[in-house]
Amino acid sequence: MSGTAFLEAVIDGILTGGVYALMAAGLTLIFGVMDIINIAQGIMVILGAYLSLWLSVDLGIGLLPGLLITVPLMFCLGVAIEFCFMRRLRDQDRAQMSILVTYAVAIVIEGILTAIVGDNYQQLSASYVNSSVHMFGFYLPDIYLIGFGLAIALLAGLYYMLYRTKFGRAVRASLQNRTAADLIGIDVNRVRTVSVGIGVAVTAVGGMLFGATNSFNPGTGYDLISRLLAIVILGGIGSIAGAMGAAVFILVINDVVAAWWSPTWAPIVYFAALVAVLSFRPQGLFGRVAVRAQ
């Protein structure tokens, strides 16, 4: 394997890693604040992709402007799901029940999508999806650069919101200790609802970028959620910077193995890496605590 090919795989991995980091950031936010694994995150990304598809094909709204519509829509979906289902789970069995509730939500979304569009694979198209730019001796597809830029900007925004605003402080307080946050006057329920809304809203952007770089159908969500979970766990629960690092780590491994060995073995290598890392560091690569106090 030549040096350039290796470098190209690494660059590819970093660029797509940014998009995965964004999707995983939503998952890790919900995970951290609610102690809930949102199995539906994968299918929500696909839903976001379909929303972008319908806006661009049926209404002629471009992919990027379309985000102004899809992001609020997905935010409302997240709020509705939190309000209807997640809120009703009791604290003791939240971890287990959440997996099943969100899985049921995922099944319903998958069923609706299948009923509307069937199993055919689709891909988003726009002028910047197929063009590329010559940079550092490589041809980089525009959409990868746009996606990476957008993802980084949103991650930075998310980071700013969490660490520099009053709302972010409330989120982190609820994440650390629900009872104490309640006692000092934080409306924990509201914080949770908004957090889930934000966590789901990022899938609109993630879905648009995923749909423009991959072909998808309603069943793609399963493959996606396994990767996202791997990223979140590897990065450490609730850590956005961790999700970023883990996403790049996993996708660089994926792309390098794909280029150097074969694309079919690439996922095996990173799942094996995941299992190996977690066997020795159950808290993930960047996490501080393994599990919350039981």
Partner: protein, 369 residues
């Protein structure tokens, strides 16, 4: 003495109402020893068994029989999953590994030992279970180092490794899969498969019941309720978790072999199916996690429903919607599953009747009501 022993008192008396906010809410509802089972309960059990035995004799329609067979398969799988996940509280979402490996094991054994379809292949089913159990040992050793969310994710990751390996290695036939020998039974005769599944189901339920009322089962429940305290009290948690995991894999592997024997072929995407992982968990939750009857009821209702809906609405997604909505409704109305909710209801009724009956206790009833 220990929390485990307290649990045992509550569980074996069979009367302890679950305390408010008790983590082991399902504990008190299952595994009542035989001495506490009334003749009525035994009679009901006998009638249910007779219905299962007589079903394919009375209803001879092969389509209905195949639905019944699938329901039995999932009852076994869900009950076996419950034996580990329900009792220990460790949510394993990778049991399709054992299901699919059972299928591949049977296909390979039949091909290499020149075994025909039908009864000779059924004789190999225990071997499929053993293969699955052997696979479960290293998986358990690795995955059980972690807990809670991380455990869930590790089991999912291992599941995907198996699926990808099955796609890419030679002996599984890759994407084209493997074929199992055709059964010699006359066309559309599902009865032998049905009865073999029923035998495996009875075996699974018996073992699940024995585990539940044994010291082993109590130790598993103590892990679910508070693993660190159980460890501190001298429960050998690691060994126990692994034993339960392997035991559960054995039954899933065995029924996996039978399932793919019925289907006739094994593909990577049907053998290692993420929907299977989640379905059996869903079924156990639907009925009541950690109870004996819960997974059986959940699998019976949900699998029959799913098969029926798939047949009625083909594959346009309607069955997925119905399935998901039904499950969400059950979770909202009965968050602990159907069996615990109904048991609670019956108990409350009985308590009310008991209190209301003697006139002297009318005041008490007033307080309670």
């Amino acid at each position: 003495m220990s929390s485990g022993d307290n649990q045992s008192a509550a569980a074996s008396s069979g009367a302890g109402p679950s305390g408010p906010g008790g983590r082991g809410a399902g504990t008190a509802h299952a595994g009542q020893p035989a001495s506490r089972r009334s003749p009525v309960q035994l009679a009901v059990g006998g009638v249910i068994l007779l219905i299962f035995l007589g079903f394919p004799v009375v209803i001879t329609d092969p389509t209905t029989n195949s639905i019944a067979f699938f329901a039995l398969v999932f009852m076994v799988a869900s009950a076996a999953w419950n034996m580990f996940s329900g009792y220990t509280g460790y949510l394993a979402l990778g049991h399709a590994v054992f299901f699919g490996s059972g299928g591949y094991a049977l296909a390979l054994l039949c091909a290499h030992l020149n075994v025909g379809g039908g009864w000779p292949s059924f004789a190999l089913l225990p071997l499929c279970g053993i293969v699955a159990a052997l696979i479960a040992i290293p998986i358990g050793l690795i995955a059980l180092r972690t807990r809670r969310h991380t455990f869930v994710v590790v089991t999912i990751a291992i599941f995907f490794i198996f699926q990808l390996v099955a796609y890419n290695v030679g002996f599984t036939g890759g994407t084209s899969g493997l074929f199992l020998p055709l059964p010699p039974f006359a066309g559309n005769n599902n009865k032998p498969f049905y009865y073999v599944a029923l035998v495996i189901l009875l075996l699974t339920v018996a073992v699940s019941w024995l585990v539940r009322r044994s010291r082993f089962g109590l130790q598993l429940l103590s892990i679910r309720d508070d693993e660190d305290r159980a460890l501190g009290l001298g429960v050998k948690t690691r060994r126990l978790k692994l034993s339960a995991f392997v035991l559960s894999a054995f039954f899933v592997g065995m029924i996996g072999g039978l399932y793919f024997d019925f289907i006739g072929q094994v593909f990577p995407n049907t053998a290692y199916d993420p929907l299977f992982d989640l379905s059996i968990a869903l079924m156990a939750f639907f009925g009541g996690l950690g109870t004996l009857a819960g997974p059986l009821l959940g699998a019976l209702v949900l699998e029959s429903l799913q098969q029926y809906l798939t047949l009625s609405f083909s594959s346009n997604g309607t069955y997925l919607i119905a399935y998901g909505v039904l499950f969400l409704l059950v979770i909202l109305i009965m968050p602990r599953g159907v069996v615990p909710a109904v048991t609670d209801l019956v108990k409350r009724r009985r308590l009310k009747a008991m209190v209301a009956h003697p006139e002297a206790e009318q005041q008490l009833a007033g307080v309670a009501g």
